[in-house]
C-alpha cells in the first residue's frame, strides 16, 4: 500500500525536480539565462493550469490566456505604487475608485490574481460544463475573445490598448520556482483526486462515464475553475516579472505558443505539459540565439527561421507521436506513454 503511494508520488516529485533544474540553470547561467528560466517557470505555472483542465477533460481550451490576463491586470491594480496609479487610472469610474488606493504584497497579488480569474471561471463554468469536444473548444475561444475585447476597450478601467506600466518587479527565480512547485502539486493532487479520476473517465468515453454515474458537468466545471485559478496566478507572476504589459499579449499568439508547449509534451498528461513548457522555452531560446548567429559565429540565419523551425518541429512530433511525447502517460509511472501501437501500418499499395 505505502509503496503504491510512493510510486504515485514519483510524478510530482520528478516534475518539481525538473522545475528545480530550471531554477538552478537560471542561477548558474547569468542574467540572460536567468530571465529565460523565470519565464520558463511562469510557463510551467500556466501550462499546469491549462493541463488541469485539458488533460483531464480531453478538451483543448483556447481560452485560458483570458485567465492569465485577469491575473496580470489584478496584479497591476494591486501592486503598482499608489502615486503612479493616480495618474494611470485617472478616469476610473466612481464605484471602482477604491482600486486606486489598494496596495498589496506580491504574494497576495498572485493569490488574488488567481481568485479573480477563478471568478471568471465560475461565471463561465455552467456553459463549459454543458459542452463537449470542439464546441467546447470554440466556447473557450469565445471566452478569450470577449475578455480580450473588454480589456482592450474598457479604457477607463483597463487603460484599453494602452500598456500597464510601473508594476514592481517581484517575480524572481525563487518565487517563480515556489509557485511552479505549488502549481505542480495542486495540478497533480487534482488529477489524482476522485473528481480528477472521474473527469478522466469522461474524457475516455463520455457515455460510458455517464452510465457509471459520473456527473461530467460538475467535474468539468471544477477542473475549469481550478485551472482558471492557476492560470490567473501565472498571469500575476508574468506581470510582476515583465513589469509592463499590453493587452495584445493576452491573445491568440500567446494562446498558441502555450498550446504548442502542451501539445508537444502530450496534452493528456501533466508531465507532458511541464516537459513541453521547459522544452519549448529552451528551444525558443536556442533558436533565438541561432537566428542571431550566436552559434554559427556571427552569420545570422534569415529572420523568421526560428518560427518556421518551431512549426516544422511541431508537425514532425505530431506525425511521429500524435498524442505528444508523453501520450497519456506520466513521468515515473509504469504503463504506456506514447501509444504508437494503435497506428496500423499503412498498406504500401495504398499510397501508390
Amino acid at each position: 500500500m505505502t509503496t503504491q503511494v510512493l510510486v504515485r508520488l514519483r510524478t510530482p516529485l520528478l516534475l518539481c525536480a525538473i522545475a528545480g533544474v530550471v531554477a538552478v540553470a537560471g542561477l548558474a547561467g547569468g542574467p540572460t539565462v536567468e530571465r529565460v528560466a523565470v519565464l520558463a517557470l511562469i510557463s510551467i505555472v500556466f501550462v499546469t493550469g491549462l493541463s488541469t483542465f485539458s488533460a483531464n477533460s480531453g478538451i483543448m481550451s483556447f481560452g485560458h490566456v483570458a485567465f492569465m490576463a485577469l491575473g496580470a491586470y489584478t496584479a497591476a491594480f494591486l501592486t503598482i505604487p499608489v502615486p503612479l496609479k493616480g495618474t494611470l487610472f485617472s478616469q476610473l469610474p466612481e464605484p471602482m475608485s477604491f482600486l486606486r488606493e489598494l496596495q498589496s504584497s506580491f504574494v497576495v497579488a498572485v493569490v488574488v490574481g488567481g481568485l479573480v480569474a477563478a471568478v471568471l471561471g465560475l461565471i463561465t463554468a455552467p456553459g463549459i460544463a454543458r459542452l463537449s469536444g470542439l464546441q467546447s473548444g470554440i466556447a473557450t475561444l469565445a471566452v478569450l475573445m470577449v475578455t480580450y475585447n473588454v480589456l482592450s476597450s474598457w479604457t477607463s478601467v483597463t487603460r484599453g490598448s494602452s500598456s500597464m506600466i510601473g508594476i514592481p518587479q517581484a517575480t524572481t527565480l525563487w518565487s517563480g520556482l515556489g509557485f511552479a512547485v505549488a502549481a505542480i502539486i495542486v495540478a497533480w493532487a487534482y488529477q489524482s483526486s476522485r473528481s480528477g479520476l472521474q473527469l478522466r473517465a469522461s474524457r475516455e468515453d463520455y457515455w460510458a462515464s455517464v452510465a457509471s454515474g459520473v456527473s461530467v458537468g460538475r467535474h468539468r466545471a471544477t477542473a475549469w475553475v481550478l485551472s482558471a485559478f492557476l492560470c490567473g496566478a501565472a498571469g500575476a507572476l508574468y506581470a510582476s516579472f515583465i513589469t509592463s504589459f499590453n493587452v495584445s499579449v493576452f491573445f491568440l499568439s500567446t494562446t498558441f505558443s502555450f498550446i504548442v508547449m502542451v501539445v508537444l509534451g502530450g496534452y493528456l498528461s501533466l508531465s507532458g505539459a511541464v516537459l513541453g513548457a521547459v522544452g519549448v522555452s529552451l528551444l525558443q531560446e536556442v533558436l533565438r540565439r541561432f537566428q542571431d548567429g550566436q552559434f554559427t559565429g556571427g552569420s545570422a540565419l534569415p529572420a523568421g527561421v526560428a518560427d518556421l523551425m518551431l512549426a516544422a518541429l511541431l508537425l514532425v512530433v505530431l506525425i511521429k507521436f500524435p498524442l505528444g511525447l508523453m501520450g497519456s502517460g506520466e513521468l515515473g509511472q509504469r504503463g504506456r506513454q506514447q501509444q504508437t501501437d494503435e497506428v496500423e501500418p499503412q498498406p504500401e499499395g495504398a499510397s501508390a
Binding site: 547569468g30 542574467p31 540572460t32 530571465r35 529565460v36 519565464l39 503612479l84 495618474t87 485617472s90 476597450s153 479604457t155 484599453g160 490598448s161 494602452s162 500598456s163 506600466i165 510601473g166 518587479q169 515583465i242 513589469t243 509592463s244 504589459f245 499590453n246 495584445s248 499579449v249 499568439s253 531560446e285 533565438r288 537566428q291 542571431d292 548567429g293 550566436q294 556571427g298 552569420s299 545570422a300 529572420a303 523568421g304 527561421v305 526560428a306 518560427d307
Partner: protein, 388 residues
C-alpha cells in the same frame, strides 16, 4: 544586419549601440526599414570618423515581435556592454526592454514609437526616449493644417484598435477645437484586418450639411480600407489622417480615390513634390545599400535618430549611462533629411516640433503639399508630460 561580434575592443574609442528590434514576426514591418536606415547612417558616420572620434559599433538582436524576448535581448545586450539601447518602433513592445535598460541605467531609445508615454520620464523612467514625434503631435498637426485650410467643421472616424489611433483622434479633436474648429460628429469602428464600415459610412452620408472634412484616426491597412470604403459609399469630402497611413500600400488600397491627406514624416520615392536634396540623397544611399528604396517614411526616422545620437554624444567622453542620458536630453537641434528637428528636452523625451509633411493622395499619386509644425501639444489632462 551587423552580427554580434562581441570581441573585446578598446572601450574608449568605441560607442556600442544595441538594437533589440523585430526582424521577424508581425511587428517586423515597422522595425526593419528604420533599423536598416539607422545602420546606413552608422556606416556613414563611421566613414566620416565616427562620433567625436569614436567609431560606432552596432549589435543586433531579433526580438521576434515578442515582449518577453525584448526583455531577454535587452538583458543580453546590456551584458555585452552597450552604451545605448535601441528598442522597437512600438511602445508596448519596447516597454519590457526599456524597463531592463532603466534598471541598468542605460538609455533606451525607441526607434519610432508614437505613443506619448514613451516620452514620459515618469512612466518607464528617465532613461527612456522615443525618436519620433508621437500620435499626439500627429493628431495635433493634422488639426493645425486643416484649420489653416479654413475648414471649420470636422467629423472624426475613430479606429478603436490601438492606442496610437485613439490618441491621434483625441489630440486631433482637442487641437482642432482649440484652434476654433467644431467637431460636428464622431463615429467609431473596431479596426483590425477585417474592416466593414458600411453603416458608419451611411450615417456620415446622412449628415446634412456635410462636414468640411473627415479625420480618419486609423492605421494601415485597416485605415486605408476604411478610406476606400468611405469613398466607395459616396463620401466626397476631404479626408485627413495620421502618419500611420503612409506608404505604398495606401496608394494601392485606395486606388483612384482623391482628396485624401495625411501628415507623414517625409515625402520620398512613392511621393513627389518635396524637392529636397537631402531626402533624395538618403533614398539613393538607402537603395544603394539595400537594393530597394524604402517603402514607408518611417525609414527616415531611424536614419535621423542616429544623427541625433551623433549630435548629442559628440562631446561626451565618459559613456556612462547617466552622462549619455543627460547629453541626449540636452535638446540640440539636429539636421535631418526633413529639416532641423529638436529631438529631446529635459522634460519631454521625444520630438514636438517635427516638421510633418502634409501629403495629398489623388488619383493614385502622392504629392507633397507643405510642411507643418505644431507649436505645442494641448493638455488633455491625461498626464502627457510633453503637453502645454
Amino acid at each position: 544586419a551587423c552580427g554580434g561580434n562581441s570581441g573585446s575592443s578598446d572601450e574608449a574609442d568605441e560607442i556600442v549601440i544595441g538594437f533589440a528590434t523585430s526582424e521577424s514576426g508581425n511587428m517586423a514591418p515597422f522595425d526593419v526599414e528604420p533599423q536598416q536606415a539607422a545602420m546606413l547612417r552608422i556606416d556613414q558616420l563611421n566613414e566620416e570618423g565616427g562620433i567625436g572620434g569614436k567609431t560606432i559599433r552596432a549589435i543586433t538582436r531579433d526580438v521576434r515581435s515578442s515582449p518577453e524576448t525584448v526583455g531577454t535581448a535587452a538583458t543580453e545586450l546590456i551584458g555585452e556592454g552597450i552604451d545605448l539601447l535601441v528598442t522597437p518602433c512600438d511602445f508596448d513592445l519596447s516597454a519590457p526592454g526599456a524597463s531592463v535598460a532603466q534598471s541598468a541605467e542605460i538609455p533606451a531609445v525607441s526607434i519610432c514609437a508614437g505613443d506619448p508615454k514613451m516620452a514620459d520620464r515618469t512612466t518607464l523612467g528617465d532613461f527612456v526616449f522615443s525618436a519620433n514625434a508621437g500620435s499626439d503631435v500627429e493628431g495635433g498637426t493634422g488639426a493645425a493644417w486643416a484649420a489653416d485650410q479654413g475648414w471649420e467643421t470636422a467629423y472624426v472616424l475613430q479606429d478603436e484598435s490601438i492606442e496610437y489611433t485613439k490618441s491621434a483622434g483625441a489630440y486631433f479633436q482637442a487641437t482642432f477645437e482649440e484652434l476654433g474648429g467644431e467637431i460636428v460628429g464622431a463615429d467609431a469602428f473596431p479596426g483590425g484586418d477585417s474592416v466593414n464600415i458600411a453603416s458608419q459610412a451611411a450615417r456620415l452620408r446622412g449628415l446634412s450639411p456635410q462636414p468640411d472634412f473627415v479625420y480618419v484616426a486609423s492605421w494601415n491597412p485597416g485605415g486605408a480600407t476604411a478610406i476606400r470604403q468611405l469613398r466607395e459609399s459616396g463620401v466626397e469630402v476631404p479626408i485627413v489622417g495620421p502618419a500611420a497611413l503612409d506608404g505604398q500600400v495606401l496608394l494601392d488600397i485606395v486606388g483612384d480615390a482623391s482628396n485624401i491627406y495625411y501628415t507623414g514624416f517625409a515625402c520620398y520615392n512613392y511621393c513627389s513634390g518635396a524637392d529636397s536634396e537631402d531626402l533624395d540623397a538618403f533614398v539613393s544611399a538607402y537603395a544603394d545599400e539595400y537594393g530597394s528604396e524604402p517603402t514607408s517614411a518611417y525609414a527616415v526616422l531611424g536614419y535621423s535618430m542616429v544623427s541625433a545620437f551623433a549630435e548629442a554624444l559628440a562631446d561626451v567622453d565618459e559613456l556612462d549611462g547617466p552622462a549619455v542620458r543627460d547629453a541626449l536630453a540636452e535638446g540640440e537641434p539636429v539636421d535631418t533629411p526633413v529639416g532641423e528637428v529638436t529631438y529631446f528636452s529635459p522634460t519631454c523625451h521625444k520630438i514636438i516640433d517635427f516638421p510633418m509633411s502634409v501629403i495629398n493622395v489623388d488619383g493614385g499619386a502622392m504629392t507633397f503639399v507643405t510642411q507643418q509644425r505644431l507649436d505645442s501639444v494641448p493638455d488633455l489632462g491625461d498626464g502627457n508630460a510633453c503637453a502645454g
